[in-house]
C-alpha cells in the first residue's frame, strides 16, 4: 500500500519531538544550569551572562541525538589571547567536572560528556567561550571572536572566527515551517551517515524558503526544499552566508565533491520516493520508541499484517 507522505512525515516529526524525552531534557537543563553557575561564579566580572544556543534554543532539536550549547561571552580585557581564553575554560571545566565527565576540546567549544547516570542517560554539553572584539562592544552588537582549535575543522592551524550567535538565533526565529523541514533534514542526515553540518542544513533551508515560493503540505515543502538543494549546491556561485558573520560562507565547508554528493543524495532520494512512496520511510525514519501502538499495525506505518502471523514466516522475513 502506498504511503501517504504528508501523514507519514507528520508522524516522523511527532515521534522525534523533544517533549517525548522531557525527563531527559530536564536533566540536561539541570546540568547546564550547574555548569553555567560554576562558570559565573568562577569567572565573575570577566564574563557576561552565559546564554543558551544551539538546536534547543532554535527549536530545531530532535530527540534521537542532541546536546545543549551554552555560549559564554567573555570581556575583551579578561584574556590576552583567544587561545589562553580557550585553555582557561578547558582547564577550569576539567578541574570542576573532570572527575565525573569526559571534558574535551572541540572545534570552537569544550565538550562535557557526563558519565551515565542510574537511568543509563548520558548528558552532554557544549560550552562555547567567545571574546568580545573590543572592550564593552559586546553589549551593543553581540559580536564575538571564537577560538578555532587547530585539531579540527577546515583550518590547518589554530585561528579564530568572528561570529554573532545571537544573530544566528534570531535568523530562525518565528520560522515554524522552516524548522519542520530542518528537523526532517536532520533526521535524514543522522540516519544517512551524518555527513553534513546541521547549521548548513539550517541555512540552506531558510535560504530555500527566502528564495523560492515554498508552499503546500509538509511533504510538498520538503520536496521543494530538497529540489532547491539538488539544483543549487553545485553552482560555484551558491553561497550560504552565516548570519553571525557575513564573511563566513558555510558552502566553503564543503569540497567540490561534497557539493556534488549533497546534490546527488537529494536527487536520488527524490527519485526513489517518486518511484515508490514507501521508500520515504527508508530515508526519514520514525523514532520507534515513541510510535503509537496503532501506527505499528497493518493500517499504519509499521510492519505489514503478515508480520504478526504464526506458524508461517512473516512476509518481512529476510533470506540468505
Amino acid at each position: 500500500m502506498a504511503t501517504n507522505k504528508q501523514e507519514y512525515l507528520q508522524t516522523v516529526l511527532e515521534t522525534h519531538r523533544m517533549s517525548h524525552v522531557e525527563d531527559l531534557v530536564n536533566k540536561f537543563k539541570s546540568k547546564r544550569d550547574e555548569v553555567k553557575d560554576a562558570l559565573t561564579s568562577h569567572y565573575g566580572s570577566q564574563i557576561y551572562s552565559p546564554f543558551d544556543s544551539g538546536s534547543f534554543k532554535k527549536h530545531t532539536a530532535i530527540n534521537t541525538k542532541f546536546d545543549l550549547d551554552v555560549v559564554v561571552p567573555v570581556k575583551r580585557d579578561s584574556f590576552d589571547t583567544l587561545d589562553k581564553m580557550f585553555d582557561s575554560f578547558y582547564d577550569f571545566l576539567s578541574d570542576e567536572f573532570g572527575e565525573n565527565a569526559t571534558v574535551r576540546k572541540q572545534t570552537v567549544s569544550i565538550g562535557i560528556i557526563f558519565e551515565e547516570d542510574s537511568d543509563g542517560d548520558v548528558i552532554s554539553l557544549d560550552i562555547v567561550p567567545g571574546r568580545e572584539l573590543s572592550q564593552d562592544q559586546y553589549s551593543n552588537d553581540k559580536k564575538l571572536n571564537l577560538f578555532v582549535s587547530s585539531d579540527y575543522g577546515i583550518f590547518s592551524s589554530s585561528t579564530y572566527i568572528q561570529t554573532n550567535i545571537q544573530a544566528q538565533i534570531d535568523h530562525i526565529k518565528a520560522k515554524d515551517n522552516e524548522r519542520k523541514i530542518i528537523r526532517l533534514l536532520k533526521i535524514w542526515n543522522n540516519n544517512d551517515g551524518k555527513e553534513f553540518k546541521s547549521f548548513l542544513l539550517e541555512l540552506i533551508t531558510i535560504k530555500a524558503f527566502d528564495t523560492e515560493d515554498i508552499s503546500g503540505n509538509l511533504w510538498e515543502k520538503l520536496q521543494q526544499v530538497m529540489t532547491y538543494i539538488k539544483d543549487n549546491v553545485t553552482n560555484d556561485s551558491f553561497k550560504l552566508i552565516d548570519p553571525g558573520n557575513s564573511n563566513n560562507d558555510l558552502m566553503d565547508t564543503l569540497t567540490s565533491w561534497g557539493r556534488t554528493n549533497l546534490s546527488s543524495r537529494m536527487g536520488t532520494m527524490l527519485d526513489r520516493i517518486e518511484s515508490n512512496s514507501d521508500n520515504i520511510k527508508g530515508y526519514f525514519p520514525t523514532n520507534s520508541d515513541f510510535e503509537e501502538e496503532d501506527k505499528s499495525s497493518s493500517s499504519g506505518y509499521g510492519v505489514k499484517t503478515g508480520a504478526a502471523a504464526f506458524s508461517t514466516p512473516p512476509d518481512n522475513q529476510r533470506f540468505g
Binding site: 504511503t3 508461517t312 512476509d315 529476510r318
Partner: protein
C-alpha cells in the same frame, strides 16, 4: 587440387614470398621451404615450413603451421627446434589464414630479426620437464621477505600437497617449498598461510642462487650438468656431496636442487633439478698435491622437474578485487548460501584475511545452493568453510569466531555500556564486516554500535527475486523498510523440508550466485573508486539484473 597443391600455390602467391619449394606430403602434414624477400632485409631469409593437415584450424592450442630456422635460434620467440612463436587470428579460410600467418612471420622478422627488439615482460626459459622414476615431480614456491646473493646456497624444506595425481597422463607428486635455510642457520619462510605452514615437512632439498638464468641465449635451459660448471661455487659442490653422504641411507630417492635466478629487478625464479641420492652429478678427485677437487659429471644430463611461482602476484595476476578490498581484514557473520558465496568469492579474488562466524550446522540439503561439499558430511559450517577457503588460496588466513558471539552474546549485552564498548572494539579490529545472517535482531544490535569499521548487510527475498545491500550506518531502518514495505516478498510459498519450524526460501545456487556476484562486483567497484557507498537493491533475474541505488 589437393591440400599440398593448394597450400604451395597460395604460399607462392604471397607478395613477399620469393620462392616456395620442395613441398611434399607426409601422413599428417606437408612440409617444404620458403624464401622471403622483404625490403628491410639485406638478403632473403629461408624457413622450413610445416603445415598440419588440420590447417587452418589449430592443433590443440598451437598454430598448425610452423616456420623453422635453426640459424635464428638466438632471436626472441624462437623455440629450441628453431620454430618461430607466432600467434595469429582465427580463420577458417585457407587463403586468409595463410596470409595472416605469413604476415605474422613478416612482423616477427621486422620486430625481432631486423629491429632486434627486446620485450619488457619476462619470458620464461624453455624447460623440458622430465619424467623421473616414471613420474613428474612438481614444487611450488612463493615470496619470502629476504633476497638472495649470487653464490649463496643452503637447505630447503618441503611439504607434499594432496596425494599423487596425474599430469599429462603420468603420475605427479606435488609439493610446496616451506623454507630456505641459509648455511648460517637463518630460516627464510615462504609466505604461505598458516594452514600450509602447518603442513608436515617430509622432504629436504637444497638451493643455490646463481643470479642469471641457467640457459643458453637466455631461453633454452641447460641440458648437461657440465653447462652449470661455471655457475656453481666449489663450496656448494662440497656441500652437495656432504648432503648425499648424510642421506645415503635413502639411496635412489629423488632429491630436489633448486637453482635460483633473477627474472627482473624484484622477482626470482627457482628451477628444480631432480637428483638421485647416491648418483649426484658431482665427482671429487684428489689432485697430485693431495688436495680434493670437485667437478660436475660432464656427460650427465640434467633431469629438470616442474617448478611454479605461486607468489601472491602471480597467483592472482589474472584478476582480483581492488587492493582496497583484498588488503582489508574481513569478517563474515553468517555463512549460509549468501555468506559462503561471499567468502569464496572474496578468497578467489585475493582477499587475505577472512574470519567467519556462524553457529549453524551444515546439512546435506545445504550443499546444492551454497559453497559446501558433500564429502565433509555433517559439521559446523564455519570449520568446513575455513578448510574450503584454505584449499582455494594459500594466502588466506581464516579464523573461526566464537559461534555464540553474534547470535547470542551481543544481543544480550549490546545495551550495557562496558559490553557495548567491548563489542565495538572487537568489531573495529576488522576493516570490513559482512552481516549475511538475515537476523533482524543482530542487525538492530549492530546498527546501534558506534563502529569505525565498514559494515555491509546482505540479504535476499524468496526466490532470490531481489538482493538488498545496506551500508552502516543506515542499515536497520533501510533494510526493514525494504522488507516491510517496498519489496514484494512472497513468504507463502516456502520450502518446508522437515516441517513448519524450518521453512526456507526457494532459489537455486545459480539464482543466488547471480545476485551475490553482482552485489560483490558493485561493492568492489565502490571501494576501488572511493565513491560514496549508497545502499542498493538488485532486482530482476538472468541478464536483466537492475541495480537501484538509494
Amino acid at each position: 587440387m589437393g591440400f599440398l597443391q593448394d597450400v604451395t600455390k597460395l604460399i607462392s602467391d604471397i607478395p613477399f614470398v620469393e620462392k616456395a619449394y620442395d613441398f611434399e606430403e607426409e601422413e599428417l602434414l606437408i612440409k617444404g621451404k620458403v624464401k622471403l624477400s622483404i625490403e628491410e632485409l639485406p638478403h632473403p631469409l629461408e624457413f622450413d615450413v610445416e603445415v598440419f593437415k588440420c590447417y587452418p584450424l589449430k592443433n590443440y592450442d598451437s598454430e598448425s603451421i610452423k616456420f623453422k630456422s635453426l640459424d635464428l635460434i638466438e632471436y626472441k620467440h624462437v623455440m629450441g627446434d628453431g620454430s618461430i612463436c607466432v600467434h595469429t587470428a582465427h580463420h577458417t579460410n585457407l587463403k586468409s589464414k595463410l596470409n595472416y600467418d605469413f604476415i605474422s612471420l613478416k612482423n616477427w622478422i621486422l620486430k625481432y630479426y631486423v629491429g632486434k627488439e627486446k620485450d619488457d615482460h619476462y619470458e620464461h626459459i624453455i624447460v623440458d620437464e622430465k619424467l623421473v622414476h616414471n613420474q613428474y615431480w612438481s614444487y611450488q614456491f612463493t615470496d619470502i621477505e629476504q633476497s638472495f646473493e649470487k653464490g649463496e646456497f643452503g637447505e630447503v624444506t618441503i611439504s607434499p600437497l594432496l596425494p599423487i595425481g596425474t599430469f599429462r597422463g603420468a603420475r605427479i607428486s606435488n609439493h610446496i617449498i616451506q623454507s630456505f635455510i641459509r648455511n648460517n642457520g637463518e630460516k627464510l619462510d615462504c609466505k604461505w598461510s598458516q594452514l600450509y605452514k602447518q603442513f608436515n615437512i617430509t622432504n629436504s632439498g637444497c638451493y643455490v642462487f646463481i643470479e642469471s638464468p641457467p640457459a643458453n641465449h637466455g631461453k633454452f635451459i641447460y641440458t648437461k650438468w657440465s653447462d652449470l660448471q661455471d655457475h656453481l661455487p666449489l663450496q656448494f659442490l662440497t656441500f652437495l656431496l656432504e648432503f648425499q653422504k648424510k642421506f645415503i641411507k635413502d639411496r635412489g630417492k629423488i632429491f630436489p636442487l633448486f637453482i635460483g635466478y633473477n627474472t627482473d629487478d624484484s622477482n626470482i625464479h627457482w628451477q628444480v633439478a631432480l637428483l638421485e641420492l647416491g648418483n649426484f652429478p658431482v665427482m671429487g678427485y684428489r689432485m697430485p698435491s693431495g688436495k680434493w677437487e670437485m667437478i660436475l659429471k660432464h656427460d650427465m644430463e640434467i633431469d629438470w622437474g616442474l617448478t611454479r611461482n605461486s607468489s601472491f602476484d602471480y597467483f592472482f595476476g589474472r584478476g582480483s578485487f581492488s587492493k582496497h578490498i583484498t588488503e582489508k581484514k574481513i569478517l563474515i557473520i553468517g555463512v549460509g548460501a549468501v555468506g559462503s558465496m561471499v567468502a569464496k568469492t572474496l578468497t578467489r579474488c585475493g582477499c587475505k584475511f577472512i574470519d567467519i562466524a556462524d553457529s549453524d550446522i551444515k546439512e546435506p540439503e545445504n550443499i546444492c545452493r551454497s559453497e559446501y561439499q558433500f564429502n565433509f558430511g555433517l559439521g559446523d559450517k564455519t570449520e568446513e568453510l575455513r578448510i574450503i577457503l584454505g584449499t582455494i588460496s594459500p594466502f588466506v588466513e581464516t579464523n573461526v569466531v566464537d559461534k555464540d558471539y553474534f547470535q547470542g552474546i551481543i544481543k544480550l549485552f549490546h545495551k550495557e555500556k562496558g559490553s557495548k564498548l567491548n563489542f565495538e572494539k572487537s568489531l573495529n579490529d576488522y576493516d570490513l564486516v559482512f552481516d549475511c545472517t538475515t537476523d533482524n535482531d543482530l542487525m538492530y544490535a549492530l546498527d546501534s554500535l558506534d563502529l569505525k569499521c565498514a559494515l555491509i548487510n546482505l540479504s535476499i527475498t524468496n526466490f532470490a527475486n531481489e538482493l538488498v545491500c545496506a551500508f552502516y550506518p543506515n542499515i536497520y531502518n533501510f533494510v526493514m523498510n525494504q522488507f516491510n514495505n517496498v519489496l514484494d516478498n512472497d513468504t507463502t510459498d516456502l520450502y518446508n523440508p522437515t516441517g513448519c519450524w524450518s521453512p526456507t526460501f526457494k532459489a537455486s545456487y545459480n539464482d543466488i550466485a547471480l545476485l551475490v556476484h553482482k552485489a560483490l562486483s558493485r561493492i568492489n567497484s565502490l571501494y576501488d573508486s572511493g565513491a560514496r557507498k549508497n545502499n542498493f537493491v538488485i532486482e530482476g533475474s538472468g541478464s536483466d539484473l537492475k541495480v537501484i541505488e538509494f
